[in-house]
Symmetry: C2
Subunit: 405 residues, 2 copies
Amino acid sequence: MKIAVLGGDGFVGWPTSLHLSDQGHEVHILDNLSRRWIDTELGVQSLTPMDSIQERTRIWHQETGRRIRFHLLDLAKDYERLKQWLLEIRPDAVIHFAEQRAAPYSMKTDRHKVYTVDNNVSATHNLLSALVETEIDAHLIHLGTMGVYGYSTVGAAIPEGYLPVGIETIGGETVEQEILYPTRPGSIYHMTKSLDQILFQFYAQNDGLRITDLHQGIVWGTHTEQTRRHVQLVNRFDYDGDYGTVLNRFLIQAAIGYPLTVHGTGGQTRAFIHIQDSVRCIELALNDGPKRGDRVKIFNQMTETHRVRDLANLVSELTGAKVAWLPNPRKEAAENELVVKNDQFLALGLDPITLRAGLLEEVVDVAKKYAYRVDRSRIPCVSAWTREIAQRVERDPEHRGLKSA
Amino acid sequence: MKIAVLGGDGFVGWPTSLHLSDQGHEVHILDNLSRRWIDTELGVQSLTPMDSIQERTRIWHQETGRRIRFHLLDLAKDYERLKQWLLEIRPDAVIHFAEQRAAPYSMKTDRHKVYTVDNNVSATHNLLSALVETEIDAHLIHLGTMGVYGYSTVGAAIPEGYLPVGIETIGGETVEQEILYPTRPGSIYHMTKSLDQILFQFYAQNDGLRITDLHQGIVWGTHTEQTRRHVQLVNRFDYDGDYGTVLNRFLIQAAIGYPLTVHGTGGQTRAFIHIQDSVRCIELALNDGPKRGDRVKIFNQMTETHRVRDLANLVSELTGAKVAWLPNPRKEAAENELVVKNDQFLALGLDPITLRAGLLEEVVDVAKKYAYRVDRSRIPCVSAWTREIAQRVERDPEHRGLKSA
Ligand SMILES: NC(=O)c1ccc[n+]([C@@H]2O[C@H](COP(=O)([O-])OP(=O)(O)OC[C@H]3O[C@@H](n4cnc5c(N)ncnc54)[C@H](O)[C@@H]3O)[C@@H](O)[C@H]2O)c1
Ligand SMILES: NC(=O)c1ccc[n+]([C@@H]2O[C@H](COP(=O)([O-])OP(=O)(O)OC[C@H]3O[C@@H](n4cnc5c(N)ncnc54)[C@H](O)[C@@H]3O)[C@@H](O)[C@H]2O)c1
């Protein structure tokens, strides 16, 4: 298959590209490298030394004989060139990772809010419109998040995308209808994924586009089978307060002797998936696309759920790290239950990698190897969801202690 | 009150500005005049000769002694200047009309789709973000549409924004929750209003913004009490295939001896409201805003529903006009029932103006007065929802006949 990977220079996009290339697919990466620019803006860098995308694809070719092409393009801004590129490649599938993906970054300042909305909505919509216009009948796979449900979960088991509801008609009978599971996103970033859902629904219905939306949990781990093959194929690995995600951050914090930063009570339950399973799920979804005229296919892409404080305790036991209890910069319920259905991937043959000590240790080892690259002052999360929350966070003694440490 | 009217140069924005100014409010119009540019792009013009906004506000001052200020600004692009402007004015209320509002225009070409999404989403989101950032606690009133429900109505009575659903929790009990009534918009334009709803939900929840979303029916008529006062205060009046809306188009077609263009079976039921009631509803909503922390208040702003073919027959009887049956360029159900609840406005004292012969005739009279300005070749609707529909429309003999007439 010819596969276009949009955002293929990123944390999930890069190992996905390698995985699919390894299987013999012809992989074309499109990326505007904005994520690298954001590193520069924030004054942070991936914990792992990450070469340029051109160099990484050169090494991949050297090691495997396979080519991955790279095209520099802003999906949100270069609509005409996007169409040209699609017409040149004529992909059978398009995997769309190309969005600003950090909730804290999206809440930093109003400039970051505006950037996240404009970038993500235009990127997704440009792609949809370009597929219709070029008449390329590719299977579109998008990476979404279960975080879109946010406040609306009320302790229900999150189904795969749809909710049956009974609607009373004028005549008085009740008609069963399946609607998009209602969303109540809790950050600007999550909100853009909720907007994406509406875009997908429309283009599937009006234009018959074939779309799969993968509602992914928090990805942890760093290596996949392919990234292990050469030191320069290493994946990006974020530890900072904006892009670092919870479990990976705990593992890095443990590796460098920094307290594990738990926000609030740590009672938030989140869904997780290992990076190796993430790329495997994408492969499975690729081979099981909807037909023209079908509604959007929605999968929950996760393998297990955990409470944040349980993870902190687990990592603490494994490594001896201390736990730091910090005020929560997010506006969310202090404690929540979370049960997520993932029957579809299980039915397709996914054999979940769960939190095993071995894999956790691999992450800690990678982090130790590159510990000298950590800028400890970039670890605290400084974005806050509202002005009042920002003030509360700033007044907290432990937060101050960590910031000045 | 100090009231900012965004999009105040438009069809509903202009009479709203006059109405509120007449009541003694301090009105500030913001508009990028994009709608005038679109007239130029399409090579059409308002049936009524419409002066520049500067000239119109000058006449209003001359006639009434009241000032309406005008500020040229692109809400979607000039975010920093938007904040400055808000800080200068410090409005008590903001009424947001400033979006691309024609479904056929939004489906014309891919360029028009991209423009509509980028313009509408950025305009609404910039405004929300700017209100939070400037800490201006204004009541935000937005003009939405009942068209967002599209396919999802299934003959149900459309409630005012929310639907109670029972969600089964992990423990097995059923929790009642009110969710945004599910949308399944049928055009790119309608889709942007569905996106707006998600933006409003987020900003009300996260930042406590006070928001009212008016889901408006199709506006008909042209004059309000204030626009009648001077010939140069006349409202814009669209008759072309993109911006002309169904009832007004029938009345203009009747006035110039053009057949009434019914698309499909004419079995589509739509909701309507007279322009005079539209401005009155906005005034009522203004005085009944939500409190900080409340969810978004959603009103259905319409007074009656009619089937398109019944309207055509009514206008035909009144005027003797012929009816032309054309293929439907939209992708929609041929026939639909529509019952809309509007209890909230009725409770606030709205006394609906319904389709009375007198008012219909006023519109025909205005159209006759300016009939010499009609370019008949711009009357057919040439946008089509998909490529296949476009071909079907083009092959239709009656459509061809009208186009060449
Ligand atoms: N990492 C996670 O834990 C996680 C969890 C759930 C969902 N996801 C989703 O998976 C996707 C990939 O996540 P990631 O962790 O790899 O993110 P990432 O930031 O590492 O990668 C995103 C890539 O997209 C590119 N990009 C952004 N905007 C672009 C534009 N306008 N044009 C072209 N390229 C653009 C960036 O340069 C970057 O290389 C995202 O959509 C994210 O929301 C990630
Ligand atoms: N006319 C109807 O029948 C009807 C029905 C339902 C809902 N509505 C809604 O009511 C609102 C007003 O409708 P209308 O008929 O007056 O439309 P209109 O096109 O006549 O007016 C919209 C105004 O907004 C301005 N505008 C657009 N984008 C802007 C931007 N980025 N920055 C600044 N100004 C911008 C335009 O220049 C125009 O003057 C719209 O949001 C529309 O969706 C209208």
